[in-house]
């Protein structure tokens, strides 16, 4: 290699590290600084306040409590369905599993809007009940209630149980249960004494993931919980944007970061354990067909969650197409009209354009940073540089475990002064989105890159291909699928992102999710209709992206 090429390669590999340093570690460091040294001196009173001020203490307790409740309820709701997915063969299984996974990729704003469309004061259910019983007021008044938040959290995380526990369960050798039966164990004893203990690591992993997700819940709680309920994330947002109490917001962010980090480490440890018994699978463990009495149980176990997942999304679509009981496209047409005089009355059209622009920028940036990172991490884990890489691996996973609101908050306190003043720049949004999205690109590419046999590249080189030709002819065709999946992820993440966006966005550069949130907070059927219509647009983009990913992803890549 010539010195120039060495330099270029070195720079290319330095780019992802530089990106992480500037847009991840620097903002996080700023959170530390503002939290510990608000006035330039060490001051820990912020931490003391967390427990001394009842309001903050309640916020902490509520955050953990609702997460715990959500986790337990989701497990209960999902386990019966998980059992059927793991052990039985039935028609439409793949489709149903995909449908139950859709919520997991839905942006929070869309989900919140969908639940309002179903159960809110103007929701389908209330409207139907009012018409049916000639009521004057909506009988279901769940808006701004814990119940609504829990429902949305269950909706979100059913897929976690079905995928994490179900995948593990399907790999459990069914002859273990048969062996227990032959030793005199009744069906309940088989589950209690054999299946459940074996499922424990995967149940633990799923529970931790759900707890982590719901502990960091932002959009759902902000919209469905109103002023009455606030998780840490919502509180960070309020302290930073409403009360401008940056030190307190920083302290809350720190708490959030530490909690997330602890849960992520626990999860990683558990995940390593869940891979052990997979070798125990029997050779021919055919899935059982559904017969007789089981069909009824199946309907209950699988049908209920399916309905629960489909109903809000369908309600959202129906709501967007109905104006005062009439079928109409008016809400969609309203998206094209220009806004009023107030700065809050942004043209939805502008938000759509911005969102698409940001998503495109995120896609390009994520592919660049993600591909370079993947190449940096990909070579086999041996030799002198291996130790280097084993250090790098977790560093590139860290952004995945950082909450979006914390990140957004870090951006506004870190990137607002020279030498890096981006506060007034629209660039902050795609930068934040890229930081959230590029780990997905890395995760889609890494296994593919590692699967390319070096002898393929050597063979191409021996046949006279120059290095870039080797990449073009060998790597690219193999990596293309991973790139496509990564690109789709990046695009979809950017379109639906709300947590970080709500903190770093500029009023003159609104995005769709921010505008939906704003419309929901304003009175009038017109605003509500625009929020619903725009949610349907995001939902469609997300579903298309999801289908693309499901179609092209290589097995076991890009899950969580």
């Amino acid at each position: 290699m010539t010195a120039l090429r060495r330099l270029l390669v070195g720079l290319a590999f330095a780019l992802p590290l530089l990106f992480l340093a500037l847009f991840f570690f620097y903002p996080l460091a700023e959170i530390f600084r503002v939290s510990f040294l608000p006035e330039g001196r060490l001051d820990l009173s912020g931490f003391a306040a967390l427990w001394q001020r009842p309001y903050l203490r309640n916020t902490l307790l509520f955050t953990a409590g609702q997460a715990l409740l959500s986790t337990v309820l989701t497990l209960i709701a999902a386990l019966p369905a998980t059992y059927f997915f793991a052990r039985y063969d039935f028609r439409g299984k793949t489709l149903l599993r995909a449908l139950l996974t859709v919520p997991f990729v839905m942006p929070t704003v869309v989900v919140a809007t969908a639940f309002l469309a179903l159960l809110g004061p103007r929701g389908l259910l209330n409207e139907a009940l009012m018409a049916l019983f000639r009521l004057d007021a909506p009988p279901i008044a769940w808006q701004q209630s814990l119940l609504m938040i829990l429902l949305a959290h269950i909706f979100y995380n059913l897929a976690v149980v079905i995928r994490v526990v179900g995948g593990f369960w399907a790999n459990l050798d069914p002859t273990l249960e048969e062996a227990a039966a032959m030793l005199g164990a009744s069906p309940w004893q088989r589950f209690r004494r054999v299946t459940l203990p074996l499922l424990m690591p995967s149940l633990g992993a799923a529970a931790l993931l759900i707890f982590l997700f719901t502990f960091s819940s932002f959009g759902v709680v902000l919209i469905l919980g109103g002023l009455a309920y606030a998780t840490l994330e919502v509180e960070i947002y309020r302290q930073a944007l409403t009360f401008f109490n940056l030190p307190l917001a920083a302290t809350l962010s720190l708490v959030q970061m530490v909690a997330t980090f602890l849960m992520m480490s626990l999860y990683t440890a558990l995940q390593n354990r869940t891979t052990v018994p997979l070798q125990l699978r029997g050779q021919e463990s055919a899935l059982r067909p559904l017969t007789g009495r089981l069909r009824l149980l199946w309907l209950l176990a699988v049908g209920t969650p399916t309905l629960f997942v489909a109903a809000p999304l369908l309600a959202l679509v129906i709501r967007s197409l109905q104006v005062r009981g009439e079928w109409s496209l008016r809400f969609y047409r309203a998206l094209g009209e220009t806004g009023g005089r107030s700065i809050l009355d942004v043209a939805p059209e502008l938000a759509i354009r911005n969102s698409l622009l940001f998503a495109l920028a995120t896609l390009l940036l994520s592919l660049l940073i993600g591909t370079l990172s993947a190449y940096l991490l990909a070579p086999p884990q041996s030799g002198q540089r291996a130790r280097w890489r084993s250090l790098l691996d977790p560093i590139f996973l860290l952004p995945l475990g950082t909450s979006a609101v914390t990140l957004g908050f870090g951006y506004i306190i870190a990137l607002d002064e020279p030498p890096l003043n981006l506060r007034t720049s629209a660039l902050l949004v795609p930068l934040a989105h890229t930081l959230i999205a590029f780990p997905f690109v890395v995760r889609s590419l890494l296994p593919v890159l590692r699967s390319i046999s070096p002898s393929l590249r050597e063979a191409a080189a021996m046949l006279g291909a120059a290095p870039w030709q080797v990449w073009r002819q060998v790597d690219l065709p193999i990596v293309a699928r991973g790139l496509l999946v990564g690109a789709t992820f990046a695009f979809a993440v950017s379109i639906g992102e709300f947590g970080a966006t709500s903190l770093v966005q500029r009023p003159e550069w609104p995005t769709m999710t921010v505008v939906i949130f704003r419309f929901l907070g304003q009175p009038g059927i017109e605003n509500y209709g625009k929020a619903v219509a725009m949610s349907v647009i995001i939902m469609s983009i997300t579903i298309i992206g999801f289908l693309l990913i499901e179609r092209f992803r290589i097995d076991d890549i890009g899950e969580f």
């Binding site: 062996a179 039966a181 005199g184 164990a185 004494r193 029997g282």
Partner: protein
């Protein structure tokens, strides 16, 4: 002969379908108390389905299963009180060796002291004393097999079902373990049904065999009966008896105790067949090299293959009328034979059997 009183379990006209495929077709058999019965057959013959049906893991579409005087066709497996050993052993990975063996005892509600004593006893039985606290991941294949056996015997089942319990082990280990298994089964005086596709294993372990094919029981009997008196071409084929000759004519001799059986290869003097028959089967070890030419119970052929097999020579002869026949020659003079030679073989009548016509 075994009388009716000693019948432990009876399967009557059991049929089981999986969609279009018929796994069991009108199968009837019974097992006597204290015997080891093998279900032998190629893969897909229905032997595992029959075993699972007896276990209660599969319910028949029609037919019944009786345990002594009680019908248990639809009784769930955990109430039957049988033991089962699975092909992959199905040891519980979250339990130690001792906890695996104690599982059935726990289900019976035995006290801890009782359980511990029985676990000790079982470990001693299979020669693994002191292994209680081992993880099953630390065990070799042979050790796992023994733990699985100990686990299934611990609750003292009235019948133990073994589903190719040695199938996942390598050949040499299998040969050793099958003897051990036989010894242990006879020591605990249990009744057992043993599923295998391996003829040697079945011969080594069982008192009686049921040979299965395409969801039916083709022949039941002792190993010797099946081998020496196959009642069906499939049985002969399964035991590797490929020397099958069509019968041209049978003429009883005056005395009536024997008959001359004419084939394309020559004539044989044999005891007359009990049933209508069209085929003769000659076991490969029934032939001896003979210098004399012609005569009854004597055939001639040309050597097409001749190989040394340690204890014997394997000889393939060609005959214009019937094609190739295979022989095992245990004589020293077999060494002098070369490919292309014409040889004469005298056949011991003991090694010849009729295949009944209805068995075709």
């Amino acid at each position: 002969m075994v009388s009716h009183e000693t019948k432990l379990l009876t399967v009557n006209h059991a049929t089981k379908r999986y969609g279009e495929t018929v796994a069991l077709h009108d199968v009837s058999l019974s097992i006597h108390r204290g015997e080891v019965l093998s279900l032998l057959g190629p893969s897909g013959s229905g032997k595992s389905t029959l075993l699972r049906l007896i276990a209660g893991l599969v319910t028949p579409d029609s037919g019944t299963v009786r345990l002594r005087d009680r019908e248990i066709t639809t009784m769930p497996p955990h109430e039957r009180g049988f033991g089962m050993m699975f092909q992959q052993f199905a040891l519980f990975p979250h339990r130690t060796v001792g906890e695996n063996i104690a599982f059935g005892l726990e289900m019976q509600g035995r006290s801890r002291a009782e359980r511990n004593a029985r676990v000790e006893e079982m470990l001693a039985l299979v020669g693994m004393s002191g292994y209680d606290n081992r993880s099953i991941f630390e065990l070799s294949g042979g050790e796992q097999q023994r733990v699985a056996l100990a686990r299934s015997l611990a609750p003292k089942p009235s019948l133990i079902l073994l589903d190719e319990p040695l199938g996942s082990l390598d050949r040499r280990l299998r040969e050793r373990l099958v003897e051990e298994l036989r010894a242990i089964l006879s020591r605990v005086e249990t009744t057992a049904i043993y599923v295998t596709h391996d003829q040697q294993e079945a011969f080594a372990i069982s008192d009686r065999l049921a040979l299965m094919n395409a969801g039916r029981v083709v022949q039941i009997g002792t190993a010797e009966t099946l081998y020496k008196r196959p009642n069906n071409r499939f049985v002969a084929d399964f035991f590797g008896l490929s020397n099958i000759l069509p019968i041209l004519a049978i003429s009883p001799l005056v005395e009536g105790s024997s008959a001359v059986v004419e084939t394309a290869l020559g004539r044989f003097i044999l005891a007359p067949p009990q049933a209508p028959t069209a085929w003769l089967v000659i076991r490969p070890e029934a032939a001896r090299l003979a210098a004399s030419a012609g005569g009854m119970n004597h055939i001639r052929g040309r050597v097409v293959s001749w190989t040394f097999r340690g204890s014997h020579h394997r000889l393939v002869t060609h005959h214009a009328a019937v094609g190739d026949l295979e022989w095992e020659i245990y004589q020293a003079e077999a060494e002098k034979i070369a490919v292309g030679d014409a040889v004469g073989l005298s056949i011991e009548t003991d090694g010849i059997a009729f295949i009944p016509e209805q068995g075709l």
